[in-house]
């Protein structure tokens, strides 16, 4: 008799848990509609998002911790060193933000593909992950003032340095990596240049070394680093096309935090903070020659 009641209780408990699990399954299917197509659905879900997802400046100060999303595997912008400590250009700035706000910094490892999602759900307060400002992204998040420049660059062997894309010899081919901004830019602006497309960095690198193409177009930070590591190559065109900038981003509408960051970037300009940052973190990779062209100080992009 006793045994039977025990079994009965056990079964009831299990059945309850199971029904909960089943509900969990079906309710998450409801959220599919809300979360699928993340960005596009953002506006429609406003009904579901009754509460504001982000934390204001005061709330962050009160909590004593700021969550900042950085890359953990993009040397030298945000990476983790052999002792498990975050390092890099973005991290250097993140730590300064924490110091000036008087709060602890909690660095969160993000991926290129989930940076916007992190901000839109308020899971981080700021993204400092080498985030290039684009009009599409600016619709999803709020960008602060920039702290770095990026552009395209073209690298070629020292024996035949390419310094201009005008009057291109139609027999020569340009190496690009598929899907990069370099590819799009060249197709749109120099349709006459024959492109040799590769899927990965490694294969493009081999192609340049084997002389399959006369030059390689890529992000200028990449080609500059390549030239420094591989003697015999020179960045003939360090800046090509539109200059893009890299800036901190906050959740759309978080104006208190955005204003604070903008003021911070302006006041840091007085002490040449980002030059110090470059010298601490980027100089080994890019050398001193590119300091002026890569660093944006005080949020002011020099007109060119």
């Amino acid at each position: 008799m006793k045994k039977r009641t025990k079994i009965a209780t056990l079964l009831t408990t299990l059945a309850l848990t199971a029904s909960m699990a089943a509900c969990g399954g079906s309710s998450s299917s409801d959220t599919t509609t809300a979360a699928a197509g993340s960005s596009a659905a953002a506006a429609d879900t406003s009904a579901a998002e009754a509460q504001t997802v982000y934390r204001t400046l005061d709330e962050i100060k009160e909590s004593g911790t700021i969550n900042i999303g950085v890359f953990s595997d993009k040397n030298p912008f945000g990476y983790v060193d052999e002792n498990g400590e975050y390092q890099g250009y973005d991290v250097y700035f993140a730590n300064r933000i924490g110091e000036d706000l008087g709060v602890e910094v909690n660095l969160v490892s993000t991926e290129a593909a989930n940076r916007i999602e992190y901000l839109q759900t308020g899971k981080v307060d700021i993204i400092l992950a080498n985030f290039t400002v684009t009009p599409e992204r600016a619709e999803e998040v709020d960008f602060a003032l920039p702290y770095m420049n990026v552009a395209l660059g073209v690298i070629s062997p020292e024996s035949n340095v390419i310094t201009t894309l005008d009057n291109w010899n139609a027999d020569d081919q340009m190496i690009v990596i598929s899907g990069t901004t370099a590819e799009t830019y060249l197709i749109n602006n120099y349709p006459d240049i024959p492109l040799q497309k590769y899927d990965s960095y490694a294969t493009a690198k081999n192609a340049l070394e084997n002389g399959n193409g006369v030059a390689w177009a890529n992000d200028n930070t990449e080609v500059i680093a390549f030239a420094l590591q591989n003697p015999g190559y020179e960045v003939g065109i360090p800046e090509l096309g539109n200059k893009d900038t890299i800036a901190p981003a906050v959740t759309k509408g978080n104006t208190t935090l955005l204003d604070w960051i903008n003021d911070e970037i302006k006041s840091l300009g007085a002490e040449q903070f980002f030059h110090a940052d470059y010298e601490a973190t980027l100089i080994d990779t890019y050398g001193a020659d590119y300091e002026e062209s890569l660093v944006v100080e005080g949020g002011e992009v020099p007109a060119n």
Partner: protein, 224 residues
């Protein structure tokens, strides 16, 4: 001997960090396994029942989880719950929830399959012997089912361990993420480190999954 860049493993705390990452991966998968196996068994048993309503619900649940890529489920649970309900789950909790949902669904189908593969005469013989329903399950059906289930569930468990590589997408730093961090941090001075590090990860996963296979083989022999 080609240069595999193994030396970066011995820099600073790199080896310890990799092992810490492996522990994170194992913790997520093992907690999920411990919760989802009993739940899966229960749901599997319920699926063999004739109740239409119950059957439909469980079927929808199973198909939903089976069709969705785990990556989408992770995003749904981690970001989706914040968007829709304002829950701020940590990456690790979200991963455990997804792995439990997934493990339970797959396990329930394995159990259902194992149960219906028990021939009808086994039940009828029990009835002829005058065994009660509980006794029939306890002494005849379940022991046979478990034997059929072992290789299948081992397959599921090792798959769950290996699929933890996806949780890096929701900010959980597990062994693969640590590996990428180490490789990138040494991009300049040891460009070949990727080979050595991935080889190490292969060994780590092997060491984590091999004992489970051994245990399964042992059980299969013991219960033959």
């Amino acid at each position: 001997m080609p240069d595999l860049g193994i030396e970066v493993l011995f820099k600073g705390k790199n080896m310890l960090r990799l092992l810490g990452g492996l522990w994170t991966a194992l913790r997520i998968s093992l907690i999920a396994v411990v919760i989802s196996i009993p739940l899966g068994i229960l749901l599997g048993v319920l699926m063999t029942k004739k109740n239409r309503m119950l059957h439909a619900i469980l079927r929808v649940y199973l198909e939903f989880i089976r069709i969705m890529p785990q990556m989408v489920l992770l995003f749904l649970v981690y970001f989706g719950t914040t968007r829709s309900f304002g829950w701020d789950l940590s990456g690790e909790v979200a991963s455990i929830i997804v792995f439990v949902l997934w493990g339970t669904a797959e396990m329930s189908d394995l159990v259902r399959g194992a149960l219906i593969s028990i021939p009808k005469h086994q039940y009828e013989s029990c009835e002829a012997l005058g065994l009660s329903r509980t006794q029939t399950y306890l002494y005849v059906i379940i022991p046979q089912t478990i034997r059929r289930l072992i290789p299948l569930s081992i397959n599921l468990i090792t798959r769950m361990i290996k699929t933890t590589t996806l949780v890096l997408m929701i900010g959980v730093v597990e062994v693969l993420k640590v590996a990428q961090q180490i490789i990138e941090a040494n991009r300049m001075n040891s460009p070949n480190a990727a080979f050595g590090i991935y080889l190490t990860i292969f060994l780590l996963y092997f060491l984590a999954c091999w004992p489970i296979s051994l245990l399964a083989r042992h059980l299969e022999k013991k219960w033959r």
